[in-house]
Symmetry: C2
Amino acid sequence: MKRITIEDVARRAGVSKGTVSAVINARNSVKPETRDHVLEVMKQLHFRPQGIARNLRNGNQDKSIGIIIKDVNYPFYTAIASGVRDYANSKGYSLLIASSENNQQSEKRFSQLFAAKDIKGAIIAPLVEGTAEIEHLFKLKMINYPFVLLEDVSGIQANVVAIDNSQAIKKAVKYLMDCGHTRIVHFAGPPSSSHTEERIEGFRHAFSESTLAFHEDMIVSIGSRHEESYGNTLAYFKKKSRNEYPTAIVCFNDQQALAILTALKELAIRVPDDISIVGNDDISYARIYPVPLTTIRAPQREIGQRAAELLIRNIESSKLLPVERVLLETELIVRDSTRTITR
Amino acid sequence: MKRITIEDVARRAGVSKGTVSAVINARNSVKPETRDHVLEVMKQLHFRPQGIARNLRNGNQDKSIGIIIKDVNYPFYTAIASGVRDYANSKGYSLLIASSENNQQSEKRFSQLFAAKDIKGAIIAPLVEGTAEIEHLFKLKMINYPFVLLEDVSGIQANVVAIDNSQAIKKAVKYLMDCGHTRIVHFAGPPSSSHTEERIEGFRHAFSESTLAFHEDMIVSIGSRHEESYGNTLAYFKKKSRNEYPTAIVCFNDQQALAILTALKELAIRVPDDISIVGNDDISYARIYPVPLTTIRAPQREIGQRAAELLIRNIESSKLLPVERVLLETELIVRDSTRTITR
DNA sequence: AAGAAAGATTGAATCGGTTCAGAAGTTTTC
DNA sequence: GAAAACTTCTGAACCGATTCAATCTTTCTT
């Protein structure tokens, strides 16, 4: 089935392409009767102008940028997107959001789609193995709009705006140690995320800077999707007797923390009385969790704003700017899910 | 500053456009030395291929649809978007998300942007006054890709997938009446939303179908943005003496319900002991609200899926399909924020 | 060393619109 | 009633890539 073009309309209406174009663009240099006739023919033919052709001729005026996040349903990412949006809007850019849903195929598809649509630049929360892919895309297949990464992926030479994950976890662990906890455990995230690595790293570091000893079994991989984390938490505690329980858990993120909270409730383990919980991210709902969550706040809107600022600076610069890497500070937010231990 | 084209590269590298194109597309019909040289020149010139031109020539292969939601940070909309995404993916379409942030300008900009990018179709949660605008855009300015609306806007002749808002509120009110409540109030949403109208309508209807009398002051307009609803709730109760308090509030949506819950806590009004609260939407966090929320569930993912299904059916049909209007059923979810009244 | 085969490059046509100088037709002016 | 001034329309050129038949080079055969 062939596409109906402006030419088909022109032929059928007995006018020139130019006239049809004038009708489409509502130029008033067209006699009303002619216009109505052309409009009529367009309707008959189900004509639909192809924006891309118009855009090519007009030099692709519209200023738009894209963001690829990992999950539209996780407020952490939507908050970042809001930050991006605010800054982008103030500079006259429109933001298109794509969600990779933690799927590398999608990530790749979207970065190509952005190129096909001639987006001016993109902000990407990369999946870890995806990075090599992305670099590959950008290097070889010439999908080379400016971009900013939201994770500090090792090895890639690119603009990055992120938080210092290692520091964040350290803050959590240090705080718990200050509260007198000694049996601290880290419930780690999905192995596919670079965040997971960095956070484990930070956990280790916190111990090496303290007098407490680190053991491998303090790292428990339970994922971050609700069902998965919930199930793994249940399993973890069912394998242990009560006196083997840790007194504190440092979570991968707040989403995971909620699943843990739910599982603990089911197991009749009280928070913070029996176990203290520290989250990560401080999503907007963390404050209303069944137990309001002590967590490490990542400045989500600011991340978005800074990333947008950096991206747009790169887009609008005539020369190639040197790569930048900005790490934002996190902040410990103490709520009700942690308590001090008195010996 | 002129855009660098394939021609500039060709000239500078002393080859033809065809060769440069071959290099870009990594066709192996190019001698390695030539390729390296061209690549080098491209780097020097900061050449970046224009996807739009390529796309025009290739007949815009990529299948993508868009969705315009009102707020990326409200889980109700992201859940719908997920539903759309799932269905779209299963049919090979990519989903681009845009957030109008309740701003009509944005809504308009995005619908035009989608046209410029030659998106195949769109799903739109329209702002009420925006509807006339949208219709205008689609009728006159020829931005006429197929689209599906997520609200049943009166007057517009378009595909709609939505819930029956009036029914939903009726369910809430009936339930409260069955629980023995007589002093029921509706905290209405922002006047700019058609949802607001329909919900007020449903509230009225529920009374006219009962033995209880309706009074205008049972409708209290407090908005849905957190700060606004919170403040208005505080103000509402401060104006009243305790014996004038309603015994139940039907909320505009769950976001608003959370603000109300927060305000009531501040006022030391207990839920559900002093006042019962019924939300609307059943966003995923409603179950973990400080008081787990009794609410009317809108089948969010299903809304998304059905909308996507309808949209894609329209996109892929060769003839113009008749307009469809599907209203999905809601469901009362009873949790802890409501109680029965014993006289 | 000539002819054939394989490899590399060219360039005109193409995608579907927009633009604008100028042609054709119509109305106003004096 | 001829010139001037409008009003409508036309159609060739253009936007920036891709494609592919035709041509030019190089390598291989015998």
